[in-house]
């Protein structure tokens, strides 16, 4: 008689126990391997998690040295994540239509709770991302990490650089203020500048790539609502998707190309490991292996000695978290100190004077001020092709994984820095003091002015210098070290001149205090 009641009691009892255990079991179901306390659970912690499993379960101790990567790749990623989150928040209020856009940014700035702070963080994170990506490229170059087998990832990285700059530039238009409107007018006309060449060759009526590019960007022959919606689409959809896809390939290739670059003698140069961690393989592998299939590429890990690795959890992840936190800290601190600018509403009749692009384009703008095609498309194109060729021309192996590794090394770079800065400043100073071709020869053909830009001379000087380095050190790497250093120096000089020393009508001024008043 009493059996059903007891069973009912038992079922209720079980139900109660299960209910109480639910939180713990949810945790168990989510993190199936338990706490990462042993080498085994630390491994499952990594490969059992979809977000973490892009990492290797163990990390070479060389990679964890601060100077190996300086965390610049993670900092770029972190800055991107910050812009992603703050960008989605800004989309709650932003309206991509000419005057409404300006009003909505003003609302975000003055009315929306935390709106100004979020917009500041978005803007600063975008700037931090550009800096981090550039520095990351410099790190990759100087440690020779672009070399075989990482050539393809270097190209993907260049794609990421271009996409990052594109994201920043498209974001520049969205506030629809004077700064935005005229920067985009200039940008769209730079896209149109191949017309300078087709005009000089009398081809424009039949072949007009410049006009096509401008039309594609603006969707009209003026900067208006069509241009705004296109830049918005690029900024919130097309370029972020492209960036995420490239990032996925970039990260995956790091693993497939053998992880972070490190010198061949990295193991000897590291201090002895601490007692807490254990080598993965024994000193003398006892097993024999059989090839089960013929596959191309590297063989699996067979007969290798002990690896100088530590578990990625916690060693690598804590380092990455530290970089992430530092990036957030920098963005937040800058956002508290400095507000994102918002000028007057765009006025198509009166250009902002001077109309300046974002700072990382001011080097280009400095060259564009001499001729639009060479400064805006020709020289950047040459630089991109040159950067892309580096890993295919430098097939050497000496110095891979070391800062400034390879023939010439740091002394070469150190001697190149004054040369790179010097020649850039010299050419600029000469042009600012004595004018340029049209002032000297008023009837000079336009094609000459289009193609011979002070930037062309600078590029030529840098190229000749690096060819001389290749001969002198009998090494392509030496030439590449020189050329890349020169490129950085020229970029810095032109950017600083464009940012601080150019005033109304793009005239040289020692300080904004000297600008004419109106």
């Amino acid at each position: 008689m009493s059996t059903p009641i007891t069973q009912e009691h038992a079922a209720l009892q079980t139900f109660r126990e299960n209910l109480l255990a639910a939180p713990r079991r949810l945790l168990d179901a989510t993190f199936r391997s338990g706490k990462p306390t042993t080498d085994r659970t630390r491994s499952t912690f990594v490969f059992g998690n979809v977000f973490l499993h892009l990492h290797a379960v163990r990390t070479h101790r060389w990679n964890l040295r601060w100077t190996t990567t300086m965390g610049l790749g993670i900092a770029s990623t972190a800055a991107f994540l910050i812009t992603l989150i703050t960008g989605v928040l800004l989309m709650f209020y932003y309206k991509p239509y000419p005057d409404a856009a300006y009003d909505s940014i003003k609302d975000i700035h003055f009315v929306v709770p935390t709106g100004r702070f979020i917009r500041n963080i978005h803007r600063w994170a975008a700037n931090v991302m550009v800096v981090a990506v550039l520095l990351h490229m410099a790190r990759t170059f100087y440690t020779g990490a672009y070399r075989k087998p990482r050539e393809f990832n270097w190209l993907i990285g260049m794609g990421l650089l271009v996409t990052t700059l594109g994201l920043s530039f498209t974001g520049y238009l969205l506030p629809w203020d004077q700064l935005a409107y005229w920067a985009i007018t200039i940008g769209a006309n730079i896209a149109q500048s191949p017309r300078e060449v087709t005009d000089a060759l009398n081809l424009t009526d039949n072949f007009d790539p410049g006009g096509f590019q401008r039309l594609l960007l603006l969707g009209s022959d003026v900067v208006g609502d069509e241009a705004l919606i296109r830049f918005y689409l690029l900024h919130v959809m097309i370029l972020p998707l492209a960036l995420v896809m490239l990032m996925a390939v970039h990260f995956w290739r790091i693993r497939k190309d053998g992880g972070m670059v490190r010198p061949v003698d990295a193991d000897q140069r590291l201090a002895p490991r601490s007692g807490e961690t254990y080598p993965v393989f024994t000193e003398a592998p006892q097993k024999t292996y059989q090839l089960a299939a013929i596959v191309k590429g590297k063989t699996g890990v067979v007969g290798r000695g002990p690896e100088n690795t530590v578990p990625s959890m916690p060693h690598l992840f804590y380092a990455e978290l530290a970089v992430l936190m530092l990036t957030v800290l920098i963005c937040v601190a800058l956002s508290l100190v400095s507000d994102a600018p918002l000028k007057e509403l765009a006025n198509p009749a009166v250009p902002e004077n001077p109309a300046k692009a974002p700072w990382y384009f001011l080097g280009l703008q400095e060259m564009v001020a001499f001729s639009a095609f060479m400064g805006g498309i020709g020289i950047p194109g040459i630089v991109l092709v040159g950067l892309g060729l580096i890993p295919f021309l430098d097939r050497e192996e000496k110095g891979t994984g070391d800062w400034f590794g390879g023939p010439g090394g740091w002394p070469l770079v150190r001697r190149t820095i004054p040369f790179g800065f010097g020649i850039a400043i010299l050419i600029e100073a000469y042009v600012i003091r004595f004018g340029w071709l049209r002032e000297w020869f008023p009837s000079i053909p336009q094609l000459v002015i289009t193609l011979i830009n002070p930037g062309t001379l600078l590029t030529l000087a840098y190229a000749l210098y690096s060819v001389w380095l290749v001969r002198r050190h009998n090494s392509t790497r030496a030439g590449a070290l020189g050329l890349f250093t020169c490129f950085l120096c020229g970029f810095i000089v032109l950017t600083i001149i464009g940012t601080y020393f150019r005033g109304p009508n793009w005239v040289f001024y020692w300080s904004p205090a000297d600008w004419p008043k109106h």
Binding site: W182, T185, I186, A188, N189, I190, S193, E196, D199, A200, L215, L216, G219, S220, D221, V222, G224, D225, E226, P348, A349, V350, P351, E352, N353, P354, A355, V368, A369, F370, S371, A372, G435, R438, E439, P442, Q446, I449, T450, P504, N505, W506, V507
Partner: protein, 161 residues
């Protein structure tokens, strides 16, 4: 495909393409062609048949007090009108370098963006501008002047009232 007896054939030797594979390849290429074709169709989308842009034709009354060689810029337009003994003419104020609006002055035009300078007839004097400022068609209509920014005329074309 047949393999003759006593003549071992390596899997790595090239084989003639069997009919079934040929059909498969043909289907594959047909698909690639279809994709390319639809891609070409989609690429037409970004260029509308009619571009949205403000009207380029407008009419304007010149002030009576306008002196010889003095520029008159209709509000909100990037065109300067001039009147002298020979008639009226209009010069575009859009810099041929990168599209900024140039400012008319006593000696010609100045661009605020990259310092291009033009003579009063639009010829380039200094700076990066690749072409002269174009002259624009004006026609007289019942005392007012009709300007059509879409129609360029050779420099020196002046219209009598």
């Amino acid at each position: 495909m047949t393999v003759k007896a006593g003549e071992p054939k390596s899997r790595l030797d090239p084989e003639p393409v069997p009919r079934r594979d040929f059909l498969g390849l043909a289907a594959l290429w047909a698909m690639a062609g279809a994709f390319l074709f639809s891609l070409a169709g989609m690429l037409r989308l970004p260029k509308a048949a009619v571009l949205s842009s403000p009207a380029k034709k407008f009419s304007v009354n010149l002030p009576d007090a306008l002196a010889d060689g003095e520029a008159f810029v209709p509000p909100g337009r990037a065109v300067a009108l001039f009147r002298d003994g020979e008639g009226v003419h209009a010069v575009s104020l859009i810099c041929t370098h990168l599209g900024c609006v140039v400012k008319p002055g006593p000696e010609g035009f100045e661009c605020p963006c990259h310092g291009s300078r033009f003579k009063s007839d639009g010829e380039v004097v200094a700076g990066p501008a690749p072409r002269a400022l174009p002259w624009i068609k004006v026609s007289s209509k019942g005392g007012a002047w009709v300007v059509d920014e879409d129609v360029k005329v050779p420099a020196g074309t002046k219209e009598k009232a």
